[in-house]
């Protein structure tokens, strides 16, 4: 009997691992709809705005203004590309400092003209190159987060594919973070984590399971407010339907945020991130004062 229970536990464990890895693969699927696809479906009259106003335009981050229903919005998102040519142009969605600076200047534009900000997150991470590093990648990411934290306009981020590390988070300091069912969001790629902690990248599926990168897991941790349903098998099976669900979720989030005063929105956004984390603080009586935060609306 005990033996049987042990086997059952092992089987459940294996299933969790397979599920986690499957999600990673769907999130990276070649045909998965990208930021531009969501813009095409959800935003009318999109006008792309390029450049960081300093030195370059980074195609790994696209941005612009357009109509979401009857309201003008600013859209910024990582763009991965699908064909090899596209992927090369967009650098596989791995942004350089100029990409993050472009995002910053677009956020300023939105703030100046009271446009709600919609972001789409889909990147393996910030580009790890010499020029990027020496061009100030670290501070570019940090400043983008601070910039987002200071906005008084509504900010809704949607993780649509890979939410890879700081490069992803830089576009996700939002009032509401939505995440598609088969997207992932993680501090490090499973391969990177396995290479460091298991000392072998082949343990990526194990790392994927341990990192808890799936939408439902992040919902449990209070990191995302909503898991957006996808068509059976993943968004690539029916991009139109997937986009409709995303649009619905963004619309609902915006409607909620409209009820809040601008300065309060900003204060609550800060409070939202202040609460993220799990720790304990035994007081003099030995009680634990804090645990998983509950911050869902």
């Amino acid at each position: 009997m005990e033996k049987l229970q042990g086997r059952l536990k092992r089987l459940q464990h294996e299933k969790r691992r397979r599920d986690a890895w499957l999600t990673v693969e769907i999130a990276r699927h070649r045909d998965r709809p990208r930021t531009r696809d969501y813009i095409a479906t959800l935003i009318d009259g999109f006008e792309e705005l390029k450049g960081d106003r300093l030195r370059a335009d980074d195609p790994a981050i696209v941005g612009g203004i357009g109509w979401f229903g009857d309201r003008a919005v600013l859209v910024v998102g990582h763009q991965k590309g699908r064909t090899l040519d596209e992927q090369t142009v967009h650098n596989f969605g791995m942004a350089r400092p100029e990409g993050y600076r472009k995002a910053q200047r677009l956020f300023s534009l939105a703030e100046r003209h009271a446009l709600p900000v919609l972001t789409f997150v889909d990147t393996p991470g910030a580009y790890p190159g010499v020029a990027a590093e020496e061009g100030g990648q670290a501070r570019a990411i940090a400043e983008t987060m601070l910039k987002m934290a200071r906005l008084t306009v509504p900010v809704v981020a949607t993780v649509i594919g890979e939410g890879g590390s700081g490069g992803a988070l830089a576009l996700a300091v939002a009032d509401r973070v939505l995440m598609q069912e088969n997207a992932t969001y993680s501090v490090i790629s499973p391969e990177g984590c396995a290479a460091i902690l298991w000392r072998d990248a082949a343990f990526a599926p194990q790392a994927a399971e341990a990192l808890h990168p799936t939408a439902s897991q992040l919902y449990e941790l209070g990191v995302v407010e909503k898991v957006v349903e996808e068509p059976r098998g993943g968004a690539h099976n029916n991009p139109e339907a997937a986009a409709a669900k995303v649009g619905e979720a963004i619309g609902a989030a915006l409607a909620e945020l409209d009820q809040v005063e601008p300065e309060t929105r900003r204060a609550r956004r800060r409070e939202r991130f202040r609460r993220l984390g799990v720790w304990a603080e035994p007081d003099a009586g030995g009680t634990v004062l804090s645990a998983i935060p509950d911050m869902r609306p």
Binding site: A126, R150, A172, L197, A267, R270, L276, E281, I292
Partner: protein
């Protein structure tokens, strides 16, 4: 000149050296090295030091009192790689005598009262998890509420992978903490020491009003190994060093350890604006608007100061205190 150095070296070299420089491999007596702030007396190499030693060097004697020593790490994901996360934490605690990778408290530096946060690379590579983020936040909140400057000594291998996405979120949380400090108009000085990388350098560390580093410190978001694996690019000479970062415009200054305390003291005095009433009034005015915003936060209006001092005053029991034993260590993350 080199002859003099040679002679001195031979004279002071003990039969069996207590300390060997990781850079020039020369040996010296520990007392001499400690007297030289754990900078190699021969080649000037700045070795990594513990949070305790850093506080001893930077804060005025007896001025540091630790805050929030009881904030403890949990294991939100039940993370196990080759070893379980709680075991790794316990080992790090036993090895360093610290509760976590950051020590926070109040102190004076050259007579300037401030909130001081010091990271320790020896504790799981100075990785930033929920506790580091929370203690940094509280430091910022306290600095803002008490109109004190914040000084952070940053050293980190990056995010604490074992806390998964929650460790990533600490980048956003600590960036928001900088917003709190900025809004209060109180100075924030960051000292980046070797190595300062990943999620820490891409969040609060580089958002400081003044950002300086020690000589030779390695500062990067993506490290040489990741760059070479991903792009196979050749790394330029001196890549990611403090000196190179200074040249590129990413730092205000590279400051040798010996001058660090004086420098930070000067910065604080200058940013505090001396005692001219105009500048004090400007800061007070900013402080008021800040408090207005804090109250707008739905449930953010709890008594900041009360929270800040509670664990300090009411504390007792088995939590590890401030690190007494200071020694130079060579760590690998």
């Amino acid at each position: 000149m080199s002859v003099t150095v040679e002679i001195e070296r031979r004279d002071s070299r003990p039969a069996k050296p207590e300390w060997i420089c990781p850079s020039c491999k020369d040996g010296a007596r520990l007392a001499d090295v400690r007297g030289n702030l754990f900078v190699c007396p021969y080649c000037g190499f700045h070795t990594r030091i513990t949070a305790g030693e850093r506080i001893r060097q930077l804060a005025d004697p007896e001025s540091f009192s630790e805050l929030w020593p009881f904030v403890r790490t949990l294991d939100p994901l039940g993370f196990t790689d080759l070893e379980a996360y709680p075991d790794r934490v316990r080992e790090a605690q036993a090895k360093t005598g610290l509760a976590e990778a950051i020590v926070t408290g109040s102190a004076t530096i050259e007579g300037n009262a401030c909130v001081l946060a010091v990271m320790d690379f020896g504790f799981l590579g100075g990785s930033m998890g929920s506790v580091v983020g929370e203690k940094l936040w509280r430091s910022a909140e306290l600095a803002a509420a008490q109109d004190l400057p914040l000084v952070a000594v940053c050293s980190s291998g990056g995010a604490r992978m074992q806390e998964g996405v929650l460790s990533l979120m600490q980048m956003a949380k600590t960036s928001c903490a900088v917003d709190v400090v900025n809004e209060a108009g109180t100075p924030f000085v960051a000292v980046l020491v070797d190595p300062c990388t990943g999620g820490v350098v891409a969040s609060f560390a580089t958002l400081a009003d003044i950002c300086i580093a020690e000589p030779g410190a390695k500062l990067y978001f993506s490290g040489p190994r990741v760059i070479q694996q991903t792009t196979r690019e050749a790394l330029p000479e001196g890549f990611s060093t403090a000196e190179r970062n200074l040249e590129l415009g990413h730092l205000d200054a590279v400051v040798p350890r010996k001058e660090l305390k004086t420098k930070v003291g000067n910065y604080l005095r200058l940013l505090e604006g001396g005692d001219t009433p105009e500048r004090r009034d400007t800061r007070r005015a900013r402080g008021r608007s800040k408090r207005g915003l804090a109250q707008a936060t739905a449930d953010g209006a709890r008594a900041i100061a009360a929270l800040a001092w509670r664990s300090f005053v009411g504390g007792s029991g088995e939590a590890p205190g401030p690190p007494e034993e200071a020694s130079a260590r060579e760590e690998t993350p």
